[in-house]
C-alpha cells in the first residue's frame, strides 16, 4: 500500500465527513451502488467512516438486467465478502413491457430501467437520502451540483433553485416527500479515484483491465457482446481485441477502448497520456448537448 498524498488525504477526509453527515442527519439513507470504480471507492470510504462499527445503511443496486455478467458477479462477491445488506431493484413493469437497449433504444431504456427504476426503489423503501459516487469533473452540468443536492417531491432536480452550500454547513432539512442525493466524491477527479484505488488496494471489476475480448464496432464504439441478446448485424463478426472499459454501464451502451493496461498502475499511466474523457464511451450522453442536465432533472443519478 502506498502512502496517500496530502491531496488524497484531504479528499478522503472530506468524503468521510460527508458520509457521516448523511448517516447522522437522515432518517433512512441508502448507498447507491452501481458496481463501478467510483462505487467501489465510495463503499470503501463508507466502511472506513464507521469503523469499527458496521455500515449503518444498506446498498441499493438498480439493475437494468443489461449489466455485464462480470459486474453482477463482482457485486454479489463484494456483498458476500463484506457481509453487506444489498438490495437489488429491477423495474418489473419495464421488464414486462420488454424495455431494453436493443429493442427500445438507449434513451427509453435509460429512462425506464434506470431513472424510473431508481425512483420506484427509493419510494418503495422510503429512503430519504441516497449517497452516490458521482463526481463534478464527469460532466459540465454536474460541475454545478451541490454535495447535498435537494430533490423536491417526485425526485425532481431544479438547477436554478439549488440551496447555496457554504463551508461544510450542509442544509439537510427536508419536508414530506422531499429527499436528498449526497455526493461524497464531488471533488474527486478520475485520476484521483485511480490513485486512491492503487494506494488502498481496492478491488474493482476486472473489465477495467485490458484483456482479449470479442468486440464488434458499431456507430464508432467497440461493443462487447456479453450474451446473445445483442443480435449481430449482417456482416458483423466479433473480433478478439485487447480492450478495457473506462466506465461501466449496460453492455450494449458501453464502448470499450483498445488498451494494454492490465494493472491499476498501467491504467494511471494510460490516463495521463489519454486525450479523451471517460464519458466518451457512453452512448447515452451523445443524444443531445444538454442531455445529462435533462436526465438529471428527471431524477437520473
Amino acid at each position: 500500500m502506498n502512502a496517500l498524498s496530502p491531496t488524497l488525504r484531504r479528499l478522503e477526509a472530506e468524503a468521510i465527513h460527508i458520509i457521516r453527515e448523511a448517516a447522522a442527519e437522515f432518517r433512512k439513507p441508502v448507498l447507491l451502488y452501481s458496481i463501478g470504480k467510483d462505487s467501489s471507492v465510495l463503499l470503501h470510504l463508507a466502511l472506513k467512516a464507521f469503523r469499527p462499527g458496521r455500515l449503518p445503511f444498506p446498498l441499493l443496486h438498480v439493475d437494468t438486467t443489461w449489466k455485464f455478467k462480470d459486474m453482477i458477479r463482482f457485486r454479489d462477491d463484494t456483498a458476500r465478502r463484506l457481509g453487506l445488506d444489498l438490495i437489488v431493484h429491477v423495474n418489473a413493469d419495464g421488464l414486462a413491457r420488454g424495455i431494453g437497449p436493443v429493442a427500445s433504444g438507449s434513451s427509453l431504456h435509460t429512462q425506464v430501467m434506470k431513472t424510473e427504476a431508481l425512483r420506484q426503489a427509493l419510494d418503495r423503501h422510503g429512503f430519504d437520502a441516497a449517497l452516490g459516487g458521482a463526481r463534478r469533473d464527469e460532466e459540465r452540468s454536474r460541475a454545478k451540483e451541490r454535495v447535498f443536492s435537494f430533490r423536491s417531491a417526485g425526485h425532481v432536480w431544479d438547477p436554478r433553485t439549488q440551496r447555496p452550500e457554504l463551508w461544510r454547513l450542509f442544509n439537510t432539512r427536508l419536508g414530506p416527500g422531499e429527499s436528498m442525493r449526497v455526493f461524497p466524491l464531488s471533488n474527486w477527479t478520475e485520476i484521483d479515484v485511480w490513485h486512491y484505488v492503487a494506494a488502498e488496494n481496492i478491488p474493482v471489476v476486472p473489465l477495467y483491465f485490458a484483456a482479449r475480448r470479442p468486440v464488434v464496432e458499431r456507430d464508432g464504439a467497440m461493443i462487447l457482446r456479453d450474451d446473445d441478446r445483442l443480435p449481430l448485424l449482417p456482416g458483423e463478426t466479433p473480433a478478439l481485441k485487447s480492450v478495457r472499459f473506462r466506465t461501466l454501464g449496460c453492455y450494449p451502451l458501453t464502448g470499450a477502448i483498445e488498451s494494454e493496461a492490465a494493472t491499476v498502475e498501467d491504467i494511471i499511466a494510460e490516463m495521463l497520456r489519454s486525450r479523451n474523457s471517460e464519458r466518451q464511451g457512453r452512448v447515452i450522453d451523445r443524444d443531445e448537448t444538454a442531455s445529462m442536465e435533462r436526465k438529471k432533472r428527471e431524477g437520473y443519478f
Binding site: T7, R9, I16, A24, R140, P159, H195, S277, T289, E293
Partner: protein, 631 residues
Amino acid sequence: MPESGQVSLERPQAAGGQTLLRFLTCGSVDDGKSTLIGRLLYESAALFDDQLAALERDSRRHGTTGEAIDFALALDGLEAEREQGITIDVAYRYFSTPRRKFIVADTPGHEQYTRNMATGASNCEAAVLLVDARKGLLAQTRRHSIICSLLGIRRVVLAVNKIDLVAFDRARYEEICEEYRAFAKGLDFAAIETVPLSARFGDNVTVPSERTPWFAGAPLLATLEALDGESEAAARSFRLPVQLVIRPDSDFRGFAGTIAGGVLRKGAVVKVSHSGQAASVARIVTPGGDAEQAKTGEAVTVVLSKEIDVARGDVLAEPTQLPEVANQFSANLIWMQPEPLLPGRSYLLRLGTKFTPATVTTIKHRINVNTLDPLPAKALEANEIGVVNIETAQAIAFDAYRDNRETGAFILVDRETRATAGAGMILHGLRRATNVPWQALSVDKRTRATLKRQAPCTLWFTGLSGAGKSTIANLVEARLSRDGFHTMMLDGDNLRHGLNRDLGFSDADRVENIRRVGEVAKILVEAGLIVLCCFISPFRADRRAVRERFDAGEFLEIFVDAPLATCIERDPKGLYRKAIDGRIPNFTGISSAYEPPESPDLVLETQAAAPDELAERVVALLEARGHLRRA
C-alpha cells in the same frame, strides 16, 4: 488556436507529495474569469479532446470569440447559461500540476449573485481577482474584494487581464496594482500578488510571456503553486465538533468528527464544550488506522479514557482555550433568500454539527459592500450584508470567525421552506449573554403555581379581526376567575397604547409586536398565572417562535375560525370597511395574508356555536390538560 508554441499537452503526473489548493476567481462581468479558467484547464491538459470538440461546436453556435474556441463555454454548464452567455451558478473545476491539485470555484460577476460568490469563497483559501486592464478597478472589483475579506480569504492574486489590449503597457499595469494596494489596505489580506496576463492568448498564465519583458514575477500558475494554503488552520486551538457516536458494542464508544482546528494528541486532556467535563484521549482512529496524533482537517474517531456524556452537536476542545458557550452573539450576515430578513422571526441556525432555533434580535447596520461603510437598515434584502445580533434557543459553542472559520460560521434555514436563508460569520459573543448569567431564584414558577392550585399556561387566541377572539377569551377569563383561578388577559389593542406604542403595522413591526407579547406572557406564566392572549398573529413562524419560549405544555394555541366574509359582515370596529377603502394598509385578510395554524390545540368555529359554548370548550381543554386543580 492562439500562439500555442509553449503549450504543453503532457498531463502532469500526480506525485506523492501533491498538495491541494482551493481558490476562486472573481471580478466584474466581462473581465474574463471563465476564459482564464478554460485557459488553465487547457494548458494543464485537463480538457480532453472530446470535450474540446464539443466546445468547438458550441463556440460556433453561442460563442463570442468568432472562430477561436470560447473557453467560457466549457464552464457554463447549464443550458440557460450557455443561451444567455452568462454564469449563473458557482461551478467547480479541477486541474493539477505535479506539485498541486487545484479546485477552482468559478463564481458569477453579476451583482445579484453576490450570494454565489460568498458560497464559492467560503471553501477557498485564496482568490484570483480579475481586472480588465482597460477599465481598471470597478465597483465589482471592490465589492468582491470586500466579500473575500469578510469570508476570511487572506491570499489574493490580482490578475490584470487583457494586457494585450493595452499594448502590454507597464505603466498601466503598475497604476492598477498601486490603486488596488491602496484600496486593500482597509481589508484583511495577508498577501497580495499581482500578475499582468492575457487569458485569451495565454500570456503569463502558465509560462512567462515574452511580450511583458518588464515583468519579473512568476506567471499565474507558478504563483498559485507557491501560495501557502493551510498553515493557519493547524496553529489554532484544538476543536472537534462531534458528528456522531460510534458504538458497535459495549467495548467501543468513539466520537466521530472532522478536526476543525489544532492538533489532537493521544493522552491529551480534552473538555466537552457544554458540560465542561474532561477526559483524556485513549485512542485516535483515523482512516489509515490508529494514530498517535491527528491534525486539522482529518476525519477521526476519538475514544476517551472514561465514560462522559457526549452527543452530536457537542465540541471537544482544548481545556485551557475553550470555545465561548452562549446564546447571544454579534455576526456579519449575508442574506440569501428573496424574502427580506425581519428581526424577531425564528430560523433554524446550523453551526458546526448543531441545529438550533434562532432569531435575529437586532440589525445594527447594513454594510455598503463597495466602501465597507455602515448604512442604517430595518431589514436585510437578498444579497445584502449586515451586522446583526443573534439569539439562539439553546446555548451553542463557537469561536470568532476571525479565529476559526469552521467553528465561527453558521447558516440560517427558513423554517417554512427549509431553504438556506442566510450565512453568517461570528464577530464576538455578546457581553450581555456572557456576563449576565441567569439569576437562580429561590421562589420558582412551581412554588408560585402550587400556591394558586393551578398549572400556569398561555392560551393563545389567533384568528382574523372580528372572528370573536376577545369575546370568547373574556368569557373564559370570567369563568376561571369565578372558580378561584388566577388569570391575566393581554389584549393587542391595549398593549399598543403602552408597551408597543412605538410599533406600527409593517411586517417587521408585527413580528416585534408578537415577540414582546410572547415575552410578557412568559413572565406572567413564571408568576403562576393562566394568561389569555388575543392577537390576530397572522404568521405561523411568529406563533411558533412564541411557543418555543415556553416549556412543553405551557402554550395552547386556539384557532378562532370564522370565514373572512363573516368577519367583514360583523366588522365590530369598522376596520374592514376602512381597509377595503384602502385607508388601512397591511390589513390582515384584505391586504396582508393570514396563515391558519397547522396543528392548533383547539379549533373554535364561531359560526357553529354560541360564544358561551365555545368558552366552555376552552375550560374543558384546561381541565383535560391538568391545568386546573379543583378543591
